[in-house]
């Protein structure tokens, strides 16, 4: 049956269905039980599955992630919720030095099937350190996978795929899109494969790469520029940030010869640089213009009264498209 769900509803449904489907599944996090999570992603799940499987933990990110590593090594499949991406740092060592390396150090004897879910990104008028987009920290670490959906459909399918993945997955949920719109989402369980980008809109003149909340900005810009200048943009939602879907990136730019990368993360050492590098390695001779990056600035994400000025807008993306098109 098709119904329309918000992204947060799709995420809740994915966890609900996996909890019912697999007795090894556990949810851990701060305020995720009785309170249902600060964004209500785990609403009512404690009542359905009990406090042993939906666990309100002490307020300690290293403790939560570290304990989840142990649980995962000994037969459980933990899904950890970190309240905001910028609160993950106390658990960073556990992620990069242990979760990402356990399979490697034990030569496959032990592995860490676990998902760390966390809202990320700006645009919700949050207080300081509630709006970061630091996916690049995790996309630098072999042993992790990094996923960022931009639609309710993908959020459910990718989260189910992440919960079934044998390796640790950092699951970044664009806070701004939690309740931004509804989309038809199948009731049954389904998987969206990790590592595969999606061509959201086909086009022939310029490729636009984006993910998370920036996908909507990219789509807006593409629609406007087509109407205003007759340029045909191909919009690609990367969906998985590590490993990147090189084939889809390359196939698109070989066709268009022009590209714009949009991300709300800081520009320097952001994933845009990696995407340009892939294009450089595989499709340089096809390019008719330098690849343009429209990104958050190299400043801390500012206080919310000016956060919209930090974030890439459709106007900025359109400027970037025109720059590459008229090079």
């Amino acid at each position: 049956m098709k119904r329309k769900l918000t992204m947060i509803q799709a995420i809740t449904e994915a966890m609900d269905q996996k909890l019912a489907d697999d007795s090894r599944m556990m949810l851990l996090g701060e305020d995720i039980g009785v309170n249902g999570g600060v964004f209500r992603a785990t609403e009512d799940l404690i009542h359905k599955y009990g406090p042993e499987r939906v666990v309100d933990t002490p307020l300690a990110e290293a403790g939560i992630i570290g304990a989840a590593i142990g649980l995962a090594m000994n037969g459980k499949i933990p899904v950890v919720e970190i309240q905001f991406l910028a609160f993950i740092y106390p658990g960073f060592e556990q992620i990069v030095s242990h979760a990402a390396r356990m399979r490697y150090r034990t030569r496959g004897q032990y592995h860490v099937p676990m998902v760390i879910r966390t809202p990320y990104g700006a645009g919700i008028r949050g207080p300081e350190l509630h709006s970061e987009s630091v996916e690049t920290f995790f996309a630098h670490v072999p042993g992790l996978k990094v996923v960022a959906p931009s639609t309710p459909f993908d959020a459910k399918g990718l989260l189910i795929a992440a919960m079934e993945d044998p390796d640790p997955v950092i699951f970044l949920e664009p806070t701004k899109l939690y309740r931004a719109f509804k989309q038809e989402v199948p009731e049954e369980m389904y998987r969206v494969p990790i590592g595969k980008a999606k061509v959201v809109q086909e086009g022939s003149d310029v490729s636009i790469f984006a993910w998370g909340a920036m996908l909507r900005v990219a789509e807006d810009a593409a629609k406007q520029i087509e109407r205003e200048n007759g340029l045909s943009c191909e919009v690609i939602d990367l969906r998985t940030l590590y490993p990147l879907d090189r084939d889809t990136i390359i196939a698109s730019v070989k066709k268009t010869g022009r590209a714009v990368v949009v991300h709300e993360a800081h520009k320097t050492a952001g994933l845009g640089a990696e995407i340009i590098s892939i294009i450089n390695d595989e499709a340089l001779i096809y390019m008719k213009a330098p690849v343009k990056r429209i990104t958050g600035y190299d400043v801390p994400v500012p206080q919310f009264s000016i956060e919209d000025d930090y974030l890439p807008t459709a106007e900025r993306v359109k400027d970037g498209i025109m720059e590459t098109a008229t090079f």
Partner: protein, 378 residues
Amino acid sequence: MTSRIILSKDTAVFFSEKERDVSMSSLYQVLSPAGELVGDLKGQLDEATMIKMYENMVLVRQFDRKSINLQRQGRMGTYAPFEGQEASQVGSAMAMTPGDWLFPTYRDHAAAIVHGQSMARVFLYWMGHMEGSISPKHLHIMPPCVPIATQMVHAVGTAWASKLQNEKHVSIAYFGDGASSEGDFHEALNFAGVFQTPTIFFCQNNGFAISVPFSQQSASKTIAQRSAAYDIPGVRIDGNDIFAVWLTMKEAMQRALDGKGPTLIEAVTFRYGAHTTADDPKKYRDQESLSEEWRQERDPLQRLRVYLENQGLWNETKEVELIARVNEQIDAALVEAESYPKSKPEDMFKHVYAEPSWMATEQESELVKPSKQEGIPA
């Protein structure tokens, strides 16, 4: 604060102000440094186990000395010695059973060996081999943890899973006095207390975190007293008294298996040597006199040997035979390690994920393909 009796009645207590005396006499002790029984064996320690304790301590001490020599000869990398801490490691590991989870640091290979890790494997680890951290299949011996205190929370997680799965196993996290300053120490003890996990936190307080003495590490006089903050049992014991170590571990394990949750054990001991073969302890302590004092007055092997000899269970002939036997075992393990197939460069690409990433697959083929420079005249 009122005094609380922790574990059994003859176990040292430490909670009240007056009991915060940190002299050696306040430690729970069963076998004195002179080799005399000063505590109750509780009918649990038989002669065969005592002899095995001694044999194991001699084995690991010989192993440790051999390893230092191998490092000096360039046959091993930097090595972290444990001589002086044998009773803590051997006694605790001998109390464990095969299904238990052992989380060692880089200085706890004596515990790993006694629990069933092969000495050849431990050599491989210190030789930088990719397969140096594999556990024997029927055991759960985790890779030596290099970052400080981080393994303590893993031992909460594995124990938590054991509890949820109704498995009668405990998880034991080894750590040192320095680890007690880390945030993960606190988070582990707090989680274990909240979720009542069958975790045993086994601290070997050897007095120094590399160079910094415990008095500068912490204003609290002991590590065991920290347990009060988490409302879990804590006990401070003579870590060079293998009977005290074994009996305390057995009791903590029983509590854990009875569903009574975690225990913090502080075993007071001393490393005779350097932090690692790359360290010079003369730089930060009066190495010669301190080391000599502990060797002469509190050595873990010596006191057990005296006790066994007084019981008529040990003599010089047996000692000579034992040394010859363990050296033979160690030499055989070394031959096994040195003849083990070397790690190949392409091994670095294996086991990053269940399925390798396209990046690593490509980079692996770049690694093994012939250089582009071949054929270019010099």
